[in-house]
C-alpha cells in the first residue's frame, strides 16, 4: 500500500511538472468558478472551512512540519486573531480589511511571546509549554470580562464588507475572501520554504546542533517561524470571527489545536500540498461519513496513532523522487 501511495503522488507531480503552463491556469479557473457549479451553500461553507483549516495547517506546518517544533497550542493564535479583530471592529467600527491585519499583527506578537521559551526548550517540554500557553489564553479570554466580555463572548460581529458590499456565503463574497487569504498564506509559506530561511528551518529539524555549528542562528529562526505562523493563524481567526459572527472562549479549545495538528500529520509534515489534502479530508469526513459522527474524535486520535506508526511522513510527505528544483542559472 505504501509504495502505491508514493508512486501515485509522484506520478501526479511528474504530470504537473511537465506541463506547468496549462495546469496552473486551469486550476485558477476551477477555483474561481467553483461557487457557480451550483453546489448548495452548505457545501460551499464546508469548502470555506477547508480553506480556513488549510491556512491554519500551513502556519502550524511551518513550525512543526519544517522547523520540527511541536506546538499543541496553535488554537491560541486562532483565538487571539478572532477576538482582536472582532473587538476592534466593534469598538472602533473599523472595516474588516483594517482590523484583520491588526489582529494578525497582534497574534504575531503573541507568537513572539510563545516563541521565546524555544530559547531553552525543545521537544516534549516545548509542546507542553505551548499547551499551557493555549489554556492560559483561554483563561484570559474567559476572565478579562471588561475587555472580552468573558463567558458572554462577542455577538453580532459585523460581516466583512468590501467597497460597501457585505461579503456573505450567499453572494460568494466570503468564498473569494477565503481564496485570497489562503493564496496569501500559501505564497508566503512557499516563499519562506524555498529560501535560506526554509533551509535553515529544515536544518534545525534535522539536527539543531549541526545547524548551529554551520552558523544558523537557530533561536532566531525558531522564534521567526512562531511569529510568522502566529500571524497567519491570527489572520485565519479574524476571517472566521467575521464569518461566524459570534465567538466565545469555548469556540477555541484544545480540540481545535489537535485537529490542526492531525491535519499537518495526516497531510504530510514538511509539505505544502499535504496541508490542503489533510484539511479536505479531516474537515469533510464528519460530513461525508455521517455514521461516524459520534466517533469523530476517536477517528482524529486514531489518525495520529496510525500515521505515526505506519507513515510518519504523512500521505504526501517523505522523500520526493522528482529532482531538486535548481533556480534559473543555478545549474
Amino acid at each position: 500500500m505504501k509504495e502505491k501511495l508514493s508512486n501515485l503522488s509522484n506520478r501526479i507531480n511528474a504530470f504537473i511538472e511537465s506541463n506547468k503552463k496549462i495546469v496552473y491556469p486551469v486550476l485558477a479557473i476551477l477555483i474561481l468558478g467553483l461557487p457557480y457549479v451550483g453546489s448548495s451553500q452548505y457545501i460551499l461553507r464546508i469548502i470555506i472551512m477547508i480553506g480556513v483549516y488549510s491556512m491554519l495547517s500551513l502556519s502550524l506546518g511551518l513550525v512543526t512540519g519544517y522547523a520540527g517544533q511541536v506546538s499543541l497550542g496553535h488554537a491560541a493564535f486562532y483565538a487571539i486573531g478572532a477576538y482582536v479583530s472582532a473587538l476592534v471592529s466593534i469598538s472602533f467600527n473599523l472595516n474588516f480589511f483594517i482590523t484583520a491585519p491588526i489582529a494578525a499583527f497582534i497574534a504575531g506578537i503573541c507568537g513572539l511571546l510563545l516563541g521565546l521559551p524555544t530559547l531553552r526548550l525543545s521537544g516534549t517540554y516545548l509542546a507542553i509549554t505551548t499547551l499551557g500557553f493555549c489554556e492560559v489564553v483561554r483563561m484570559v479570554l474567559l476572565n478579562w470580562e471588561s475587555v472580552t466580555r468573558g463567558p458572554l463572548g462577542i455577538s453580532r460581529i459585523p460581516k466583512p464588507s468590501f467597497l460597501g458590499i457585505e461579503l456573505t456565503i450567499s453572494n460568494f463574497g466570503l468564498y473569494y475572501l477565503m481564496v485570497a487569504f489562503l493564496a496569501l498564506t500559501t505564497l508566503a509559506v512557499v516563499a519562506i520554504v524555498r529560501s535560506k530561511m526554509g533551509r535553515a528551518l529544515m536544518a534545525i529539524r534535522e539536527d539543531e546542533l549541526a545547524a548551529t555549528m554551520m552558523g544558523v542562528k537557530t533561536t532566531y529562526y525558531k522564534v521567526a517561524a512562531f511569529v510568522i505562523s502566529a500571524f497567519f493563524s491570527g489572520l485565519a481567526g479574524a476571517f472566521y470571527a467575521h464569518m461566524i459572527r459570534f465567538i466565545d472562549p469555548n469556540t477555541f479549545t484544545f480540540d481545535t489545536s489537535i485537529m490542526i495538528l492531525s491535519i499537518v500529520i495526516l497531510g504530510g509534515m514538511g509539505t505544502i500540498g499535504g496541508m490542503f489534502l489533510g484539511s479536505a479530508l479531516l474537515v469533510s469526513f464528519p460530513e461525508v461519513l455521517r455514521f461516524l459522527q459520534e466517533y469523530r474524535f476517536v477517528v482524529y486520535g486514531a489518525v495520529l496513532v496510525v500515521m505515526m506508526r505506519y507513515r510518519p511522513q504523512g500521505i504526501l510527505g517523505g522523500q520526493k523522487k522528482t529532482p531538486y528544483k535548481l533556480p534559473k542559472g543555478g545549474g
Binding site: 521559551p117 531553552r120 499547551l131 499551557g132 476517536v298
Partner: protein, 291 residues
C-alpha cells in the same frame, strides 16, 4: 480560614502527586511524557464505578480496576509505543501517539458510559474531625494516607527490589542494561503496569472523595499532575509528591483569594514558569550535551 485552605490544598496536592507518579515512572524509563496518562486515570475511575455498580464490594472493585488499568497501560505500550521504539522513530512521534491514544480512550469512555456525570460511592467516610477549628474530613485524611503509603511502596519497590534495580538500570542506559542481561521489555511493561495501576488508584480515590465520575475528568487533572511532576523534577518519584503539594496548595489559595476561575490558570502558569527557569525541576539532574 487559611488553615482550612491549606488542608484543602494538601488533599488536592496528594491527589496530583498520585497521578504525577505515573508520569515520572514512564518518563524515568523511556524519557517519554505519556500524554495518555490523564485518560488512563479516567479509565481507572470508570472501571471502579462499573464494578461497584455490578454489586462488587468497594475493595474488589478497587483491585479489579487496578489490574485492568494496569493491563491497559501495557496494551498502550505494546500496541502503539513499542513499535515506534523498534523503528527508532523521532521523539515527537511517540508524544503525538500518546496524544492520539488519550483522545481515543477519552472518547470511547464518553461513548460507552454516556456523557452524564455519574455517582461514585464515598470511600472511607467516617464523618469529619475538628482539629483547632479546621474541619478534616476523614476521606481527605484517608486519601492522603493511601497516597503516601502507595508512594512509599513504589519508592521501596524501586530502591530495594530486584526489579527496581533493573528499572533504575534501564533508566540510566537501556543498551547497557540489555547487555547485562536485564529483560528491558519486561521492565518497560512492568513500568507501564505500575503507571496504569497508580493511575487507577488515583482515579478511584479521587472519585471516592468527590463522589462523581465523568469521561473527561482526566484532561485537566492530567495536565496539573504533569506540571506537578515537572515541578518536582520529572523522573524523580519523591519530586512528584513535593510538586503535587505545591500545585495543590497554590491552586486552592488561588481559588480562595483570586476567585475560582483562576485556579486552572495558576497550575498552568506554574508549569510554564518551571519549564522556563528550570526544566529539570527542583530535584532533577542537569543533562550534559554530548556531541
Amino acid at each position: 480560614m487559611v488553615l482550612q485552605q491549606l488542608s484543602n490544598g494538601l488533599t488536592l496536592g496528594m491527589v496530583y502527586a498520585l497521578i504525577a507518579v505515573g508520569y515520572s515512572l514512564v518518563f524515568g524509563i523511556l524519557r517519554l511524557v505519556n500524554f495518555s496518562h490523564g485518560s488512563v486515570y479516567a479509565f481507572g475511575a470508570h472501571m471502579a464505578m462499573l464494578f461497584v455498580s455490578m454489586q462488587f464490594g468497594i475493595i474488589p472493585a478497587f483491585i479489579l480496576s487496578i489490574v485492568l488499568t494496569g493491563i491497559l497501560g501495557i496494551a498502550i505500550d505494546k500496541m502503539a509505543l513499542a513499535p515506534l521504539r523498534a523503528k527508532k522513530s523521532k521523539g515527537i512521534a511517540a508524544l503525538i501517539t500518546t496524544i492520539g491514544i488519550s483522545y481515543i480512550i477519552q472518547n470511547v469512555l464518553m461513548i460507552t458510559f454516556g456523557s452524564q456525570t455519574k455517582f461514585f460511592p464515598k470511600l472511607f467516610d467516617f464523618g469529619s474531625i475538628y482539629i483547632g477549628g479546621v474541619a478534616f474530613n476523614t476521606t481527605q485524611i484517608c486519601i492522603s494516607g493511601v497516597s503516601l503509603m502507595l508512594l512509599l511502596i513504589l519508592s521501596c519497590v524501586i530502591r530495594y527490589t530486584k526489579v527496581g534495580l533493573a528499572m533504575r538500570a534501564v533508566e540510566q542506559n537501556q543498551k547497557a542494561a540489555n547487555l547485562m542481561g536485564i529483560d528491558v521489555n519486561f521492565v518497560v511493561t512492568f513500568t507501564f503496569f505500575l503507571g496504569g495501576a497508580s493511575a487507577a488508584i488515583a482515579g478511584t480515590l479521587i472519585s471516592g472523595y468527590y463522589q462523581i465520575v465523568y469521561p473527561n475528568m482526566g484532561f485537566v487533572a492530567g495536565l496539573k499532575a504533569f506540571s506537578a511532576a515537572v515541578l518536582g523534577g520529572i523522573g524523580v518519584l519523591y519530586g512528584s509528591i513535593f510538586g503535587g503539594l505545591v500545585v495543590g496548595i497554590s491552586e486552592s489559595f488561588a481559588a480562595a483569594y483570586l476567585g475560582g476561575s483562576y485556579r486552572d490558570a495558576v497550575a498552568f502558569l506554574i508549569l510554564i514558569i518551571v519549564l522556563l527557569i528550570k526544566p529539570t525541576g527542583l530535584f532533577g539532574k542537569k543533562g550534559i550535551t554530548k556531541v
